[in-house]
Amino acid sequence: MIINGVAIDATFAEAFPMKATRAIITAQNEKWAMISAQAMTGFATSVIACGCEAGIERVLEPSETPDGRPGVSIMIFAMGGKSLAKQLETRAGQCVLTSPTSALFAGIDGGTRIALGKNLRYFGDGFQVAKLIDGKRYWRIPVMDGEFLAEATTGQVDAVGGGNFLVLAESQPQALAACEAAIEEMRKIPNVIMPFPGGVVRSGSKVGSKYAALGASTNDAFCPTLKGMTKTDLSPEIESVMEIVIDGLTKEDIDKAMRVGIQAVCDLGATNGIKRISAGNYGGKLGPFHFHLQEIMA
């Protein structure tokens, strides 16, 4: 399959089951909601070493938030429910509770309930106040700038992590420009995050390493500087490869995000140095969710 001169490989991205949750951070203005959201989703690019994958889903208008203030929706993904709950609690406690004027609300009403403000309340040292409004429990925790308002729980749901595609280009600037265009479109899709810096990862990995202590190492088949010394997957004109990783609430959400992302890359086309779109998989051994590139773009 070739779209605008860009070859779409007959391969698939391989993804695996995760647990996910969503929270809504509001603040006095969008600037401070975003600062808090960025702190909460920081150092959360990959479960390999961060414990979770997190990202900003989108900015919310005041009319979309529970307290009528500007807000940001964030999502966190982890391999299990326990680790997700732990990550949510520590991040909420250190990054949102501490952030001026912030408030924290559930972003998923159904699912298994996990603690959001439920345990942070103890920071109130006995001065905290619970309010049950319309069946939802909120904690008012006195802090130095006034009160931190946090909903007691949010929902945890089954999700999919590790959807991806690779952008193969003739130069590094062209690969990055294509990924930026893809991310801009993918951020419009609900229920997905792209957890890597700016949504783009330049250090795609393969499973295993020559070093016993490492579970993952550089994906040498796609490293352009190794074209002459490893079993490369790159043709001679490819000078740079970048990857976009997607976590989503459902397979369909990731399908949509991949479609608009790949389309945005293909819109730049071969004339802008984009040669191929490929994907990372492990022969179907890693996860049950397979995203066939040509099916998605059909």
């Binding site: 106040v129 309010k131 049950l132 909120y138």
Partner: protein, 271 residues
């Protein structure tokens, strides 16, 4: 199906215990069985059809017409369905109600919604003393649900209240929120003496400055983030509380009762 309607034929001299006439108890009964039920009337029992004309059959929607202030225990432990009272209601309206909705067009007596657990109670007139309170000797008053009073309420509203909302468009009598454990009482009108007496936790939300009390300490003026959410929850009510102009988030906060646990609060609107 039309509403199961009880129209009072005459006003008896003695008080009537209406507790058998709730939705869940009448759900499976035939009209003849309902007519043959007996109600305690003073020290004697009378048949339902001796006191009421009965029409309709939908036991989930009960209407009591020509009601007056001696019909006690209307909607006692109501568990689903709706009771509409046209006229006044006596004491213990909605005592311990578990779910459902009761609406009274007139005034109600003492202990309305006492020990209420869930559901909605709307009183279009005035309410007597001990609205949403605990029965004498008990420690737990209203535990959930919403009470809306369009008129005034008597003394000790929310006595021993534990959870839920009491919304009063008019004035509240003395000792409003006394011995409250938690929950919210909102009063648009004036409040009486000894507001929040022995209050442990909970919120008294006021539109007008109450009489000063040595038992509450001024914590200053604040903009509280939970208030917009609280007001948003009132939007579905047909009430002055649902008006956009009623909502505010800037309040003067008083903490107390300092002679008790002192974790309660009086929030007074700052105009």
């Amino acid at each position: 199906m039309s509403a199961l309607t009880f129209t009072l034929k005459h006003q008896p001299d003695q008080r009537v215990d209406m507790s058998p006439l709730v939705c869940q108890k009448l759900a499976e009964m035939q009209p003849a069985e309902i007519a043959a039920l007996t109600l305690q009337n003073g020290k004697r029992k009378i048949r339902v059809d001796e006191l009421f004309d009965i029409t309709g059959s939908d036991a989930q929607n009960i209407v009591i017409k020509n009601s007056f202030g001696k019909l006690d225990f209307i909607g006692k432990e109501l568990d689903g369905g709706r009771i509409t009272v046209e006229g006044d209601a006596g004491a213990y309206l909605g005592l311990g109600m578990k779910s459902g909705e009761i609406e009274v067009s007139g005034d109600v007596g003492i202990y309305a919604a006492c020990e209420m657990k869930k559901g909605k109670l709307i009183i279009n007139g005035n309410a007597g003393d001990f609205l949403g309170a605990a029965l004498p000797g008990n420690k737990m008053g209203m535990k959930g649900g919403t009470i809306l009073v369009r008129g005034n309420v008597g003394e000790r509203a929310g006595d021993h209240m534990r959870r839920g909302n009491i919304l009063i468009e008019g004035n509240a009598g003395d000792y409003c929120g006394s011995r409250m454990t938690a929950g919210t009482i909102a009063v648009m009108g004036q409040t009486g003496k000894h507001l929040g007496f022995a209050m442990r936790r909970g919120t008294l939300l006021l539109w007008n400055q109450p009489q000063a009390s040595a038992r509450f300490n001024d914590c200053g003026a604040h903009t509280l983030a939970f208030l917009p959410i609280l007001f948003a929850s009132f939007k579905k009510l047909n009430s002055a509380f649902a008006n956009n102009s009623a909502a505010f988030s800037r309040v003067q906060r008083y903490a107390g009762d300092m002679s008790e646990m002192g974790r309660g609060e009086i929030l007074v609107k700052i105009s």
